[in-house]
Homo-oligomer: 665 residues x 3
């Protein structure tokens, strides 16, 4: 099986999406000159080239791409070659209207933007396969080719009749019989029983709340329908180039794809990360996505897209202050990236993304943006080879599951304020601020290698997952769980007692009387801290009360419980309190921070034998590091401490590499 090493060849890749078809061919040599100046080693070609490659049904125009591939090869720049199937040409919708998606309200999604295809459409799939076939056949052996990039940010949903037929097939495969489906969805409620497979449709606009089993299965189906599109194209390119790795770039922590299942079907896991430059915790966000992607990849991963400056899809699009791009690029490398890439090389002058930054912005080579790009490129070229391919195992696992997320976001839920990714982020931030590096895992993964397992909030847990967690604690692991966990089974059926009995026993909870979600401006006081968003009316059995509620309707009842190595947090402590609580739990599990006593906003991460330091704060700081070390960016000796300005980065080479480090894990 090919792997990321086959693409990186010992380097940390640097580059980005390259869309030269937008420019006159005379521009290409200048592009190459500037790429070399910026030490670009990788470009992604063809992402949105369908209309150029197939200007009308069945036609082919490869000449321009031949010339580009050759140009890249001649200049030693590797190519990540995309199948252009994310954006069908106008002729597709015009000639085959049934390929156009329909939304929940039955409205047609027309061409004129991108991604206007129904993933269940056989016509779309046939055209996509034919072009992929020809691309793979033509460029499979090209010396510039390093990796395949299937489609782009798969994200279409569709509610059309074609989708209905496909959904029924998927349901037949999942449930076997209509009785089983009726049972799984609980259609006895509200007279929703299906008497025939033909009666089943996607969950469309309805009078009132929709059936949660139906909508949950539709989320699962949509992820799988997109995955079928991916695997069909992947199988074609693998047939032609069994030794070239394949990826498809994820949107960061996006709800529409089951990232665990998808990652298993990729040789290389890649992701697009766009931290908001104005987010005071943008560094944590970047870290979290890196941690998740590293865990999906089980090793080094690819940052396929980030922005050198502003994006164009926020309400207000802020540029990156000087240094932020470099800081976040190195941060991704520290958390395991073996490629630092951008959308896109040269900023477009036309089209919907002309205000999305490029490595080469409208200001051109004299612009501040390009100057910073050149600095990053030079540093990566010099230091990348020491990092590429190295992997450091995690001691902590944060559990995350798309299925639970989907079940969480339904009509008729307890609180519309409960935002799954926000809860996940709050818990990750608490660990990040303590420099406790964490990986991610799915609740049914083998957890035995972790010292600490953290469950921010998993509303839905399968029996397998529950048994896995119970076994993990029984076998000596430490587990800490947030509120509203283990409530529903695989069918989104509420478990008896409102929380699975095995989990209640694990945490020492007797009865879950009521869930008490909190309002937007509401807080609740607990022993020594304040909390938000959630609270629960619990009756303890064997658990020990670590902290009680001291205000509100639940005053006097337990807020945080501990039952041996199992902890339960029935509310969302404010950030500092959650940080302190998780630090205490980690300590009880024998997990230590990377460095202790760091100034606020300073992040320390180890990768292989290197210690990375990042200053996310606004002020200059002095970091006590001990020593002696070699600081690699400045190529200087460090002993005892290092100074970091705003957006400052230091990379210290440790005298001895830690035991957890290994090339290619």
């Amino acid at each position: 099986m090919p792997s990321l090493d086959d693409a990186t060849r010992g380097r940390v890749l640097f580059g980005g999406d390259y869309n030269p078809e937008q420019w006159p061919e005379e521009t290409w040599p200048e592009d190459v000159r500037l790429m070399k100046e910026a030490r670009v080693t990788s470009v992604t070609l063809g992402v949105f080239s369908w209309a150029r490659l197939e200007p009308r049904p069945g036609a082919r125009d490869f000449g321009w791409l031949d010339r580009l591939m050759d140009l890249m090869a001649a200049n030693g720049i590797g190519v990540v070659l995309a199948t252009p199937t994310a954006s069908p040409p106008p002729w597709m919708g015009s000639r085959h209207p049934e390929t156009l998606p329909r939304d929940e309200d039955g409205r047609i999604v027309w061409w004129g933007s991108r991604q206007q295809f129904c993933p269940s459409s056989p016509v779309y799939r046939a055209y996509a396969a034919a072009l992929t076939q020809d691309l793979a056949a033509r460029y499979g052996g090209h010396p510039a080719l390093r990796m395949w990039h299937i489609n782009n940010e798969y994200c279409t949903h569709c509610w059309c009749d074609e989708t209905a037929r496909h959904f029924r097939d998927w349901l037949r495969a999942r449930h076997g019989t209509l009785d089983a489906l009726n049972e799984s969805w609980g259609t006895a409620f509200w007279s929703q029983r299906y008497d025939s497979w033909d009666e089943i449709i996607p969950p469309r606009r309805a009078q009132y709340l929709r059936n949660p089993g139906h909508t949950l299965d539709f989320r699962r189906f949509t992820s799988d329908a997109l995955l079928e599109c991916y695997t069909a194209e992947r199988d074609i390119v693998v047939w032609h180039t069994p030794d070239t790795p394949v990826t498809s770039n994820f949107m960061p922590l996006w709800s529409g794809q089951d990232g665990w299942g998808w990652a298993e079907r990729e040789d290389v896991v890649s992701v697009d990360i766009y931290p908001d430059p104005r987010d005071p915790y943008g560094g944590q966000y970047n870290a979290m996505l890196g941690d998740l992607t590293r865990s999906q990849a089980r090793g080094p991963w690819v940052l396929m897209e980030q922005a050198a400056g502003p994006v164009n899809w926020r309400g207000v699009n802020h540029p990156k202050p000087a240094g932020l791009n470099r800081l976040q690029s190195w941060q991704s490398v520290a958390r395991g990236a073996d490629a630092v890439c951008y959308f896109q090389w040269r900023q477009s002058r036309q089209g919907a993304e002309k205000f999305h930054s490029g490595m080469l912005s409208h200001a051109g080579e004299q612009g501040r943006t390009f100057r910073e790009i050149k600095r990053i490129g030079a540093e990566l070229a010099r230091l990348g080879p020491e990092m590429a391919g190295t992997h450091t195992a995690d001691e902590i696992a944060l559990l995350h599951d798309w299925d639970s997320w989907w079940a969480d976001q339904q009509d008729g839920r307890l609180s519309s304020r409960l935002d799954y990714p926000e809860v996940l982020r709050a818990w990750h931030r608490a660990l990040w601020e303590s420099n406790l590096r964490t990986g991610f895992a799915r609740p049914d993964h083998d957890l035995s290698a972790y010292r600490l397992v953290v469950v921010p909030h998993l509303y839905l847990l399968t029996d397998t997952a529950i048994d896995n967690l119970v076994r993990y604690v029984r076998d000596g692991g430490t587990l800490v769980s947030g509120f509203l966990t283990g409530v529903a089974d695989e069918d989104d059926r509420v478990r008896e007692g409102g929380m699975d009995a095995r989990l209640r026993e694990l945490f020492g909870i007797g009865t879950v009387h009521e869930w008490w979600p909190l309002d937007a401006d509401e807080t609740v006081e607990c022993d020594g801290f304040r909390a938000t968003l959630w609270s629960e009316e619990l009756e303890v059995s064997t658990g020990e009360t670590v902290a009680s509620y001291t205000s509100g309707e639940l005053a006097g009842l337990p807020a945080v419980l501990r039952n041996g190595r199992a902890w339960y947090v029935s509310t969302l402590p404010e950030p500092e309190a959650l940080r302190a609580l998780l630090a205490r739990v980690a300590e009880s599990a024998g997990v230590r921070p990377v460095l202790e006593g760091l100034p606020d906003g300073v992040e320390a991460v180890r990768r292989g034998g290197l210690l990375f330091l990042f200053n996310h704060g606004a002020k200059d700081v002095t970091v006590a590091t001990g020593g002696p070390y070699r600081e690699l960016l400045g190529d200087r000796a460090v002993d005892g401490s290092v100074e970091l300005g705003r957006h400052g980065v230091a990379i210290l080479r440790e005298p001895n590499h830690s035991a957890t480090e290994s090339p290619n894990h």
Copy 2:
């Protein structure tokens, strides 16, 4: 004519919706055991059982319902049997797409939730009639049957072509000729004149403001179309069981049904009330709905649904603190309810309402919720027989009219901040806080029995209604009216002078120069109080100025007028001021509070010979009651005062019953 007594048989009913088809049949005996423990006397069966009873077109499956009816009968639990026509099975929409509603934008409302039927659809009506016929024939003589429950919370609207045809028929019947319709709607404006009946459609998505006559008639039509659905089913069950009462449960103060007209066609008036547990005036809301329903019923009524804990359809769904369910249940009885029922008996584990509480919650029989249910059931079983069937006439009538509400909520109105039910509620609250119990009436009802008539805001008043009000005052009654009243006639045509001349004369108003609605954060000062939402530029004729505006553009002009026994309030005084004003008007009309000098948040109500006291406040209070009394809940003597904790209730038996009390009115 059958009445509620035929169902209650001298008790206050206790129970709720029971949907056992969601559970394995083994659960039923446990349900019965727990129902008996909770002293449940009534269950509502079959509300959403269409797909179970008629699994495919024309099929019938009654066996399970036979067994349930027998089980209830055997255990002495009465059954309110529903026609299941609120939620057609999926096969209906799948085989007869024309039964699916379309919204104003032409979007189909699909199955997958509930209520996906066009009320004008002959196909839907035919299926509904056939099943109702079979249900009535089969269970008409069953010993468990106590009452028929037609459909559930009628609330569908539809804008489809079938609706258009039906709407035209309704318009022909109302207006006779097209000329009359054009005149009534004022179609000379904006070139909207209809040349043929076929040109008339429901008021669909348009370029700009729609014709108010058109939209008002469509609201009237929609209420009537639903009423036709109701009466068709009612007539069938009445044919089979002329001695069994019939009801259909209202949503509380819902805009879509003309509640006065509907109530006249029901043997029993029932309603679903869901006060927000977080609403500091939830007690007032509960009281208001009780007052309205008692007035619609002209005597005892049925609380068909309330929640034992949280609901699942608010943004954030809060449980009920201990005691609140009991408080509000007794409050409904005090205001005339002869049945205290819940949606639903056993909380669902699946489906869209699995987080809507049940009498038996996810926590089961050990849960706090069920413990409170058992207490309420025991108390009602002991004390209910003394209350059931008693009725105490009201001295005050609050006028409310759906027609005026509909006319109020149109495109192009004076202020979108004017929320009809909120104004109604503000005025009811002012009376409630003074312990001045009020009933409700329609402006054309016989008002002669009331000492005081209160009109919070009736934008539209027919000539009949205006004459009725004028006659009422002329004959010695006291009338107080809020702003923007008597502006439009039955066709929503603005009356000359902007307010009907008879009303101007009644209130002593000369000219209405302009209406001055207030902005969101705007208040206006008046002599001795502050007001919000509204103000009016009036010129007085014979009226006496009770209070003037003292700030803003209207400073110096009259805010509150009095012309003998007729008062006019041209703004919305803040709560305490409106309370004081209405107390003063009530005193002038010779109406006294139930009790005076009550602590804040304490409500006192009389029903029959009993005095009910409720503590809605957060603190313990001592209520001076005089005495001696017998306090029935605690079965103890009370003399002079009674203590009430938070959510506390006391029921005092008076030495002599008042003259206004009578069984069955």
Copy 3:
């Protein structure tokens, strides 16, 4: 060519829309009596009379209009006669559904309001032409006829298939070849290349951001499609009455019509202005619209609609305090209006606009509104002849362009907070507060007559326009430009360097590194002032830094630049700072305020030999005017100063008329 003089005949017209078909014919004589009392000289007839004139396809009913025209003629009231084509009768949509517009989502826009026609529909156009033809033939020679009023507030947009065909024709004419279109729109991006004209559709609902070239051309097309509707009807009436002027009333500063192009095709430019009575800068808004319309008309213009009191389409509709109507009416005359008209004469009692005020309100002739109308009418009758036809040239031009506005408002833009008309308004207000009267011009107009040219913000500038601006400064003019100007070319292609090189040279800017839009609550400090909304990271070449940023990421970089007579303002200074800055620039250009040292809120304007003073503030003020003057409203001598109460107006006759004044320019 006929002109406004042909309609005014030396007076300032006074009157409004008159829709007598809403009233019984007996009302008409009363209307005439009250019109004469109010000195009404002009009524607009027939605006929404299509269904009355053509009750069914091809039928004609002119009798009522004959009688009205004669009645007006007999009473000396002139008629502005409208083609009633803004609101097709219900029969049109019912018989010809293809005339109904569809919105971006494909939803049909039904009849039941007004303007339900697709401007591209040949069927609609044919009916409109036939009726216009008959109207013009019948009333062309009528003695009451003064002016033609084509349609009303053209504002429909449509995305239907008929529109698609028409759009393709328009694109063929604009671009010639499909290659040129693909180049213009940049369809190489996101695989949007069109292979056939048939593939092009209006920009409908899409998955993500739409192509800006496509949507920009569609805005241009829609304006042109409406213009075709206008010119078709105009040509018909001109054929019949070559000496009667033609207009079509604009909505104020509306985005849908290219006002410059339209005005060129009208004999008389007319506009509808509805300042919000609660807007503290309503006076400035009224002034701005007057300035714009005067510039479009290149002389006197018609205020076709304003409201005597409240409108009915705001969320909360406030009346006008006493005096405000008179103040704003005179303000329009001062800024060049030769007609002061209202929607509408008599307030409707039915229909969607029954709460839109009329000159004769619901309160009738005793109402405050009508009393104020009579005062205005009398004053205009007395003083109007001295003003009618006079025109005073502007020294300042504010540049405004619909094309740039359209390009500004696209998917994927830098900041959704950037609201083009708000920026325009902020700059106009700065001039208005300094009593620096300004006209408006398009960036490619001949600017040589102006001393100062002001560019608040023109994102898109054609090469012609840029050359025009550069030449203007080179030839001695003073130019001041706001941020984000000259970024895009005619195809919305970003110019190299992010700002056109000629403009960078003009302003002395070297490199535009990044645009830094500001957040909602964000401000940035500069030398001596605070600014909002926007900032830019600029590198200066030859420019002089007038003010630097002193806070935020750009601290130390230039905020305001000056390069000789060219100024560049890279942010939006707060109002007082922008006022001071523009006053400084104006002074450098040799432009003086009308009067100096005026109290806050007092506006001074010259028209012909008259000096108008307006008190927009809440308090009484004394204005130092010098003198001696004759004050015309009070017909009194003024020497040195004049007192103005709230909403006060004074009109001073100057001893000698200024040189810039001329009748009929």
